[in-house]
């Protein structure tokens, strides 16, 4: 390996990336904007669900019942309606996500000791949000039932409300959330976003950078010169690894300072693991570039081979453990999963090399395979 030639190649590439507006924005602007867009965009927390009320009883009890919903921080009260028809329109226009209809004679029926059904209409468009809403509604409804029961027991047995509560609901669940005490989804999303962005942008940049040379013919400078295959690959891709490593730092700082995610792990370990990860994903781009003939096809292939594993097999949406066996196997074939573990472990759990070395080793192995395969597939004397 002739270090001067590698340097010449790397320096040329570096200058081209910095001077070409398209490449510069792909290198730096795109990852940062992705972090902003997804960081603010993907919120898994369900809060402030807009809803409306149809109170056909207008009694003291119906007001008490409905106030439990109105006062909740999970719901956002939009007002009363007069007719059921209005509810349909409001849900159809996405003005509200659910509505509660209290039937006539609500108080009368309850006081007479008979059960009564309160209707809740929930927008089922987004299953995840729907089930969350349903859970909240059921919980609030339970709370009101317990309240009624407690009041009844207090009155009937002549004991204090505290005693009555203990009698009515003797078991209480006490939950402590580990690693993410406030269950803020952004805490886990910011590290996962790093996984996602660093899986997508380095291969994009790399594949375009190599295929561009193929497309316009400057690759023939390499083919026809005495530069060896290894020198070319190292020199050409070194700048891309450096850029991605700079992005690691930028995204990391954004996760901590913009999205207030806690970082409990070892920064040095995390940085080194991240550099291995971007070297690996740069390798994906390199491999793609050896098959693609045009920049357009390079982009298409990169999208397919990176977005699918990043979304489906990384643990971003569905935990790996809850996948079926075939999917779990597939997840192990992509680098995304390993880095998700490293990122979440470093950010939230504060674990390091000791616990995560298998993941780092998997990424290293992945990197070596990609680069060796690319080296063997790259030829300076081509077939067409």
């Amino acid at each position: 390996m002739n270090i001067n030639r590698v340097k010449a190649l790397a320096f040329k590439e570096w200058r081209e990336i910095l001077r070409d507006r398209l490449f510069f924005s792909l290198a730096f602007v795109v990852p940062i904007s992705m972090m902003f867009v997804f960081g603010y965009g993907i919120k898994m927390d369900v809060e402030n669900i807009p809803f409306a009320i149809l109170d056909q009883d207008r009694s003291a009890m119906s007001r008490d019942y409905l106030h439990l919903f109105i006062d909740s921080r999970y719901f956002d009260y939009q007002g009363d309606v007069e007719h059921e028809k209005e509810i349909d329109n409001l849900i159809a226009d996405s003005k509200i996500r659910f509505a509660i209809i209290v039937p006539p004679k609500f108080q009368e029926t309850l006081l007479s000791g008979r059960p009564i059904a309160v209707q809740s209409l929930i927008d089922g468009t987004f299953p995840f949000r729907t089930s969350t809403s349903k859970g909240y509604v059921a919980a609030i409804n339970n709370a009101f039932n317990t309240q009624l029961l407690t009041a009844y027991v207090t009155q009937r047995m002549g004991i204090t409300p505290e005693q009555a509560t203990a009698l009515v609901s003797p078991i209480k669940i006490e939950i402590r959330y580990l690693y993410n005490q406030e269950i803020k989804s952004i805490w886990s999303i910011a590290p996962a976003m790093m996984m996602f962005i660093l899986l997508m942008t380095p291969p994009f940049l790399t594949a375009l950078g190599v295929v561009r040379e193929k497309e316009n013919g400057s690759i023939y400078n390499i083919y026809s010169s005495t530069v060896t295959r290894g020198e070319f690959l190292v020199g050409k891709l070194f700048p891309y690894v450096v850029i991605s490593s700079i992005n690691v730092v930028i995204l990391w700082l954004m996760a901590i300072f913009v999205f207030s995610a806690p970082f409990k792990g070892d920064p040095l370990f995390f940085f080194i693991a991240s550099v291995i990860y971007v070297t690996c994903t740069t390798g994906i781009g390199l491999l793609v570039s050896l098959f693609a003939k045009t920049q357009i096809s390079a982009m298409m292939i990169t999208v397919v081979v990176t977005i699918v594993p990043a979304v489906l097999y990384s643990g971003l949406l569905v935990p790996i453990a809850s996948m079926d066996e075939a999917s779990q196997f597939e997840a192990h074939l992509f680098p995304a999963m390993y880095y998700t573990d490293i990122a979440l472990g470093s950010f939230l759990k504060g674990v390091g090399m000791e616990q995560l070395w298998t993941r780092v080793a998997a990424l290293l192995l992945y990197t070596v395979i990609l680069w060796v395969a690319s080296y063997n597939l790259f030829h300076k004397r081509v077939k067409a």
């Binding site: 002739n2 001067n4 030639r5 340097k7 010449a8 190649l9 040329k12 200058r15 081209e16 001077r19 070409d20 316009n216 013919g217 400057s218 023939y220 400078n221 390499i222 083919y223 026809s224 010169s225 005495t226 530069v227 030829h379 300076k380 004397r381 081509v382 077939k383 067409a384």
Partner: protein, 662 residues
């Protein structure tokens, strides 16, 4: 090869030996059984149209492409594996096809050169001295800090050459280095190659699609469809097809053309002149035969001369039965009389002081010219001279900053839509729909131009007949060979019977046979249908076909005359063009240059120079040669080409502008 009289010449093995070379892409055979040998100190040419297999052969010799059959030997190394190819790459310089495509757009001129030097491990001192020399030779030394993407086409190509030469290769392989390059840069290019040949005794393999560059080579192969159809020195190849070129002026031209076509295979109208290649006949007999055929017409200025490479090429093709036998477009001479004579001499296009600024940059500066109905007018100039901008203003795509333009009697500024219906426009890229058939394309254009429903069928039939598209009506446009696709594009532009036709670089990359057919149609349109045709081009051979030319340089028209007038003006201003044939061309060229003829240039084994007083110069050269023991074979007159005109005009203007600057 090595003559016994030249003591110092060691009879050496050829640097490149190719035997039985063949290569297929997928199942398509691209090159089939080619043999060639390149010697040291030789510029070897590969001439042929696009798709002839030139690039494939060159890449295989450069060791960057595998091949299927035969053997390629370079510097004694048989190139049959990647490892073998690596061994010779240090001694080769390879420049792929495409204007500046192998360069890095974002890097400056100097950065590009430095990168290639580092890649080739040129030492610092060598780099500095070579860079200085090559930059001066290419006249790029003023632009070292300019990013490559801002260079003109010719400059890019010269920079590409500098980068390819920076490690002083022994063999340089240049794939179509002059395609799309303006004539002045082309001249520079050949001058550099000649100098290298002289100083370093290198070998060069150069491909071109221009037949008129054939005389530049010492040895060449004519390629067509993957095969070599002739090999040897340029004169030898032309001599393979015995015959005479007869040039004449006949009136009416269209009638004479169709009469000649019935007997001779190669007839074409070049401006006012008809060129007839009479195969197998000596000069006098040929003139006699042509004259007897045109007994009814008014014939003038008839004379005979040696055939050119293009005539030989076409004759060789038809001998080898390689020309496709589809029907040539027919010329309907009966219509000629029906044309309203009053149309003639009326102005179809009038440009008056057209100006166009882009920011501070004046792209078009006070351009005025006139085109009559029935006239083919060429707007000639290098890339970036302002041709396209003039075009866009006249077709109403771009608003002029100043001046006026009238097309078909309408003011460009006001009657936009009306004009568009009266003009036909064919762009450089042939705006056809590749996934539609020939017929569908024609119908689509007919509807776009609002051809009446009842006329539709008749117009479509007319286009098919005129453009010679019989038999391919139902084939996809994208699957057609370049020449036919181009005629289809022309047919589409003519479907609504426009009276004015705009053609933007119409025949780039088409083989000579296809190009001649294309011009046949244009001649018919102009002579018979009285259509005014405005053509932009930077191909000199295309310009020769025009009735009238305007030469553009830096946004201005610097010459406006017929091709003949331009050539006469050149002879008046710069002297006669002399061709010197000798046994030691390189040494002779050096001596002639030293004697004060700096513009002298090497064409193959001959030397061209301009002489104001031919008799005096003759004597001068004769005495120089006797002093230095050089045998003079002959000094003959040559007709200057339009390229000579162009180069002279542009150089004169460049020098004038430089004088104003300092």
């Amino acid at each position: 090869m090595g003559q016994p009289t030249l003591v110092n010449t060691v009879v050496s093995e050829p640097i490149v030996k190719v035997q039985g070379f063949s290569k297929s892409y997928r199942k398509k055979l691209a090159v089939d059984g080619v043999d060639l040998a390149i010697n040291k100190g030789e510029i070897y040419g590969l001439i042929g149209p696009d798709g002839a297999g030139k690039s494939t052969l060159m890449k295989a010799i450069a060791g960057v492409l595998t091949y299927d059959g035969g053997q390629v030997e370079v510097f004694g190394e048989i190139i049959d594996s990647e490892a073998a190819a690596e061994k010779i790459k240090g001694r080769i310089g390879f420049m792929p096809q495409g204007l500046g495509q192998n360069l890095y757009a974002e890097l400056s001129v100097e950065e590009n050169i430095d990168f290639f030097a580092q890649l080739r491990e040129v030492s610092r001192e060598q780099l500095i001295s070579r860079k200085r020399k090559l930059l001066a030779m290419t006249r790029l030394d003023k632009f070292t800090n300019r990013p490559m993407k801002l260079l003109s086409g010719g400059m890019k190509q010269k920079l590409g050459l500098v980068c390819t030469l920076i490690h002083e290769p022994e063999l340089i392989i240049l794939d179509e280095p002059t395609t799309g390059v303006d004539p002045v840069s082309r001249r520079d290019f050949w001058a550099i190659l000649t100098a290298l040949l002289r100083e370093q005794n290198i070998a060069a393999l150069v491909s071109t699609a221009y037949m008129d560059e054939a005389t530049r080579f010492q040895q060449l192969s004519l390629m067509y469809d993957g095969k070599v159809i002739a090999e040897g020195e340029p004169d030898q190849i032309i001599a393979k097809v015995p015959g005479t070129l007869v040039e004449l002026i006949a009136r009416p031209q269209a009638v004479a053309l169709s009469q000649l076509k019935s007997i001779f295979q190669q007839v074409e109208a070049v401006g006012a002149v008809l060129r007839v290649f009479v195969e197998g006949q000596e000069e006098e007999a040929a003139i006699k035969q042509v004259k007897s055929l045109l007994s009814g017409q008014e014939v003038s200025e008839i004379h005979a001369s040696q055939a050119e490479m293009e005539d030989a090429f076409i004759a060789l093709l038809s001998q080898a039965n390689l020309t496709d036998s589809e029907t040539a477009p027919s010329i309907d001479t009966n219509q000629a009389s029906e044309i309203d004579a009053s149309q003639k001499d009326k102005l179809a296009i009038e440009a008056e002081n057209l100006c166009r600024d882009f920011g501070d940059f004046r792209a078009v500066d006070q351009v005025s010219f006139q085109v009559r109905y029935g006239e083919i007018f060429g707007l000639l100039g290098a890339n970036g001279a302002g041709k396209s901008t003039v075009f866009k203003m006249l077709t109403g795509i771009l608003q002029p900053t100043g001046g006026e333009g009238k097309v078909a009697g309408q003011d460009m500024l006001r009657a936009n839509q009306a004009i568009k219906e009266r003009i036909g426009y064919m762009s450089q890229a042939f705006s056809l729909y590749q996934d539609m058939t020939v017929l569908e394309n024609i119908r689509l254009y007919a509807r776009i131009y609002a051809v009446a429903r009842k006329e539709l069928k008749q117009r479509v039939d007319w286009v098919i007949a005129t453009a010679g598209l019989q038999g391919v009506e139902n084939r996809l446009a994208g699957a057609l060979p370049m020449g036919i696709r181009q005629r289809l594009a022309l047919g589409c532009a003519l479907v609504h019977q426009p009276k004015v036709l705009f053609l933007d670089e119409p025949t780039s990359g088409v083989d000579p046979v296809g190009r001649r057919r294309f011009w046949d149609i244009l001649i018919q349109m102009a002579r018979v249908e009285q259509v005014a045709i405005l053509v932009t081009t930077h191909y000199m051979s295309e310009a020769e076909h025009c009735d009238h030319l305007a030469l553009m340089y830096a946004g201005r028209i610097i010459a406006d005359a017929t091709p003949e007038q331009m050539k006469e003006a050149l002879v008046k201003a710069a002297g006669e063009l002399l061709e010197v044939t000798t046994d030691q061309p390189l040494l002779a060229l050096k001596l002639i240059e030293q004697a004060g003829f700096e513009e002298a240039a090497l064409f193959g084994k001959k030397i061209h120079l301009l002489a104001k007083e031919p008799q005096l110069v003759r004597q001068q050269i004769e005495s120089i040669f006797t002093e230095n023991n050089i045998t003079l074979h002959s000094i003959s007159h040559r007709h200057p080409s339009l390229e000579d005109v162009f180069v002279y005009q542009v150089m004169t203007h460049e020098n004038e502008m430089a004088r104003h600057e300092y």
